[in-house]
């Protein structure tokens, strides 16, 4: 089980790096903010935050300063990545809503505040050892961001399905929206479970339950990301064939 979880986690991290960087490079070509925001969110939150904090927390052979530095680096990636995802939600799904930029700003402020209070309070060595302190708030902010992303993604996907039924939408784009909604749903479920365990003091890291869930969700979300943002030609052909058969 430990080997499966490690491989699944590695797959998820590598996928986040690959897809995230691919989208950042796409943003360089198109000069558009949404691809930059989603690319940064995947690379920093999915590809850096979790692995850096996991190593800082669990690599007990490392010295305390190194463990603290890894956790701090992970937290900084978490702040930047989750803020990018919140701004993506605003710019893509709610560009005209007055509350959306306010929500994004509050999310960013909450993350920065949790980070600074952890720095000024019990510090990051303590966090690396016990996973305690104000930074725990970031887990719940993450739950909120993933919930927002899930709701918006599913709402937009349902609208896209209706457009497709009238011949007004590309089935490949509809499928991409479905995969993004699935990935965000999985991220929401996982982040809620782990934040709840963290808050209740239930140790799941390294346990059979924790490793199984991590492995399953990481594999699922990684596969969704790959198929959505770096789809093989055969997969796209299959999506088009299926849409043609339905139409």
């Amino acid at each position: 089980m430990a080997m499966f979880a490690a491989l699944a986690g590695l797959f998820s991290v590598l996928t986040s790096w690959f897809v995230g960087l691919r989208l950042v490079l796409l943003a360089r070509r198109t000069r558009q903010a949404p691809e930059l925001l989603i690319g940064l969110a995947l690379f920093l939150a999915g590809g850096c935050w979790s692995p850096l904090v996991a190593i800082g927390r669990q690599a007990t052979a490392l010295s305390d300063p190194v463990r603290a530095a890894l956790v701090v680096a992970g937290a900084v990636c978490g702040v930047a990545g989750m803020t990018s995802l919140a701004v993506f939600n605003w710019r893509v799904y709610r560009p005209g809503a007055a509350w959306a930029p306010v929500a994004s700003a509050l999310i960013a402020l909450a993350l920065v505040a949790a980070f600074l209070v952890q720095c000024l309070g019990i510090g990051w060595v303590e966090y690396a050892h016990t996973e305690q302190g104000p930074w725990l708030l970031a887990s719940w902010v993450g739950v909120g961001i993933y919930l927002w992303a899930s709701v918006e993604a599913w709402r937009q996907y349902r609208m896209q399905v209706r457009r497709q039924a009238l011949g007004l939408a590309d089935p490949v784009v509809t499928d991409r929206m479905r995969l993004w909604a699935l990935a965000m749903g999985a991220a929401f479920a996982a982040s809620t479970f782990f934040a709840a365990c963290q808050a209740l003091g239930i140790p799941v890291a390294g346990t059979v339950v924790g490793l199984s869930l991590t492995g399953l969700i990481a594999s699922f979300a990684g596969a969704c990301m790959l198929l959505a943002f770096a789809p093989p030609a055969a997969y796209l052909a299959r999506v088009r064939r299926a849409a043609g058969a339905e139409g």
Partner: protein
């Protein structure tokens, strides 16, 4: 987000050519767009033409408007003369269309 010119045009035409009042006409078109997965703020002329052909006739019939098919057909012809210049280009569909890039 302001409503698209083609949305305003279709609502105005339905109000002018049928027994529906302003609020009923706008509500009917809004519900038809929702059923089609479209938004009044970002709908294009070509999308509205499809809605006028495949969704609005039934919506008008359900509100007791007679000859909804003929009415929608006439409005479709008029809508074809509109431009899409005011349309918001970066819709979620357009953005996700780029992300496979």
């Amino acid at each position: 987000m302001a409503d698209a010119p083609v949305f305003e045009f279709v609502c105005g035409e339905i109000e002018r050519r049928s027994s529906l009042g302003r609020l009923e006409a706008r509500g009917t078109v809004r519900l038809a767009l929702k059923e089609a997965g479209l938004s009044p703020g970002s709908i294009s002329v070509s999308e509205m033409r499809v809605v006028l052909e495949r969704v609005l006739p039934a919506a008008l019939a359900s509100r007791g408007v007679e000859n909804g098919d003929a009415l929608c057909s006439e409005i479709r012809t008029g809508a074809a003369r509109l431009q899409d210049s005011a349309r918001e280009a970066d819709t979620p569909e357009a953005i996700f269309g780029r992300l496979g890039g």
